[in-house]
Symmetry: C2
Subunit: 338 residues, 2 copies
């Protein structure tokens, strides 16, 4: 796959490569006639600068690295969509890595990312990342980093997140206001920021409405097969009148569990999910949800990252951008009695 180089043009036009280079970059110190010649010929041969050579020279790649737990998760694929939209507009490429919820894999990804000389990094932590030392000092070493969605308190850096606490609060408040009193919570891994924030919102809502917090009504679920179903079953043993689920995966598992047990939703148990499930309105009964601004989150994080990269604003104080969630109540999903 031989491509046209600056050398080819120089040879053909009997001038030096530096002249060609300058002409192409529209340098002021070049003869208009020469410039014209070079540009025309370059156009004719469809010359494209070799980005790899540029990377080597300039020690940057015009690419940003993105690490997500799983790409085939609607939330993350939407976020990546947002990232890609911004990156494309600003002339950057996106190199995607999946941690598959594995700490080890995430560490390897970061190594690759650094070796690849990406100009910046967007990361949402894996479900099993508790030690974040592989991510420390990246900023200091000169690699701009923006965490999104699943972030860590252990690193002072730029973050873009959803307002999970507010989202969970709104969800639980709604359940309470529609008559629920024993609201169970199916959450993700307890050390994840999103989990902690959602649990906090859950507790805050209970407290505001004078309901007592009962540990037995919370279960934390990892990503292994069958885990969600098992934990939902345990929750059902506690005879809740509502289930608040903290993710797509858990919402689906929960609905499936209720369906199998022929438990009437929402009469016996109401269900409200922190999810981006597309078909939520088509479920029966329709699923009320707290929906995350996935695309917007990718969008915002990428924009911030590229600002950091281009305007060298790394020295600016680290900021956490918090995006609002949206409570979408679907009819008949939450009424205790018809």
């Amino acid at each position: 796959l031989h491509t046209v180089t600056i050398k080819d043009i120089a040879k053909a036009l009997n001038i030096s490569t530096s002249t060609v280079s300058r002409a192409l970059r529209d340098s002021y110190e070049i003869n208009p006639e020469t410039k014209r010649l070079v540009l025309e010929y370059a156009e004719k041969l469809n010359y494209r600068p070799n980005p790899i050579a540029l990377s080597l020279k300039e020690n940057r790649s015009r690419a940003i690295g993105v690490v997500v737990p799983e790409i085939d998760n609607y939330f993350f694929s939407q976020a990546i969509n947002g990232i890609e939209a911004i990156a494309y507009n600003r002339g950057y490429h996106v190199v995607i890595f999946q941690s598959h919820e594995s700490y080890e894999r995430e560490v390897v990804n970061i190594e690759h990312i650094i070796a690849r000389k990406v100009d910046g990094l967007l990361i949402s932590l894996s479900g099993h990342t508790t030690d974040v030392s592989h991510l420390k000092n990246l900023e200091e070493k000169g690699l701009p980093v923006v965490f999104f969605d699943r972030v860590t308190d252990d690193i002072d850096t730029h973050k873009v997140v959803a307002d999970n606490e507010e989202g969970a609060f709104k969800a639980v408040e709604h359940l309470i206001q529609t008559g629920r009193k024993r609201i169970a919570l199916a959450a993700s891994l307890p050390w994840l920021s999103i989990t902690q924030e959602r649990v906090a919102g859950y507790k805050a809502a209970l407290e505001k409405y004078g309901l007592t917090y009962d540990e037995n009504l919370i279960r934390y679920c990892d990503f292994t097969v069958g885990e969600a179903d098992k934990k939902v079953a345990e929750l059902l043993d506690q005879k809740p009148d509502a289930l608040f689920t903290a993710s797509d995966r858990l919402a689906l598992a929960c609905l499936a569990a209720l369906k199998i047990r022929k438990i009437d939703i929402p009469k016996e148990v109401a269900v409200l999910g922190f999810t981006n499930i597309k078909a939520a309105s088509l479920l029966s009964p329709p699923l009320s949800v707290v929906s995350q601004p996935a695309f917007e989150m990718g969008h915002t994080a990428a924009d911030l990252l590229l600002d950091l990269i281009e305007k060298k604003q790394r020295a600016l104080p680290f900021q956490t951008i918090k995006l609002s969630t949206e409570l979408i109540v679907r009819e008949s999903s939450q009424n205790k009695e018809p």
Copy 2:
């Protein structure tokens, strides 16, 4: 972000860069003691070869380019997952591009891909790509290409697809066998390979069972907002007793349209989708589907591509790998009478 280079090691150990290079590559012609020294020091400094320098030298990038219509589409995100799994195992990175169903955008993507010097290309055509000249001759120029899912007849190359005709046939056959006679088809754009194959399967099933093919029972839908709903409405005017929908998007639009019109599924109209919707079994009634092997398709395409790249098997005859679809019948979804 200064990283350790071969030069740093050479300087520290007072030997030449070539010796270091050879030691690191475990060359036979090197003093074991020197080798030990170099390896130890490299390990200590956590030396990683600069992939960009290697790319420049070897004129390859150990990265493959992937062009898909939309990443936040469950089918494609699953396919990418399959691609990434293989690529990771074989030491390649994945650079993702979205055409957003736009021909122009796809052309630009291909330019970028070529400039980036990816070692190979996986592509699923945009919905508005009819002219494929931007993709011709890539193989001849030495860039291995594998088309997947949405392919073209106009280029003789490697392809990995689902058996769309068989899938549609099974779907329609099932509808017929459960008593349907007026089976409408909501299809995607008519020039797409997947559309043509699914229509062919639809026709074949009708023919086998002696039903007449009625043009009025087919609609082709582009990706604009509201289009699917409009076309489904037109189909409903034809009083069908079943709807076969050719994608996730169309299946959801169709279910929504029926729900709004309070049409009883499946009593009045049965619905069967060519989709990968996760929540299909939780819909009411559960949605029977023909499900595509998305992950497997990505997996297979990436494996083939990497074989082409590494074993230089480009000269081999072009092959089309056809993967089976699966008909998943959900209870109560397809019975005309209870």
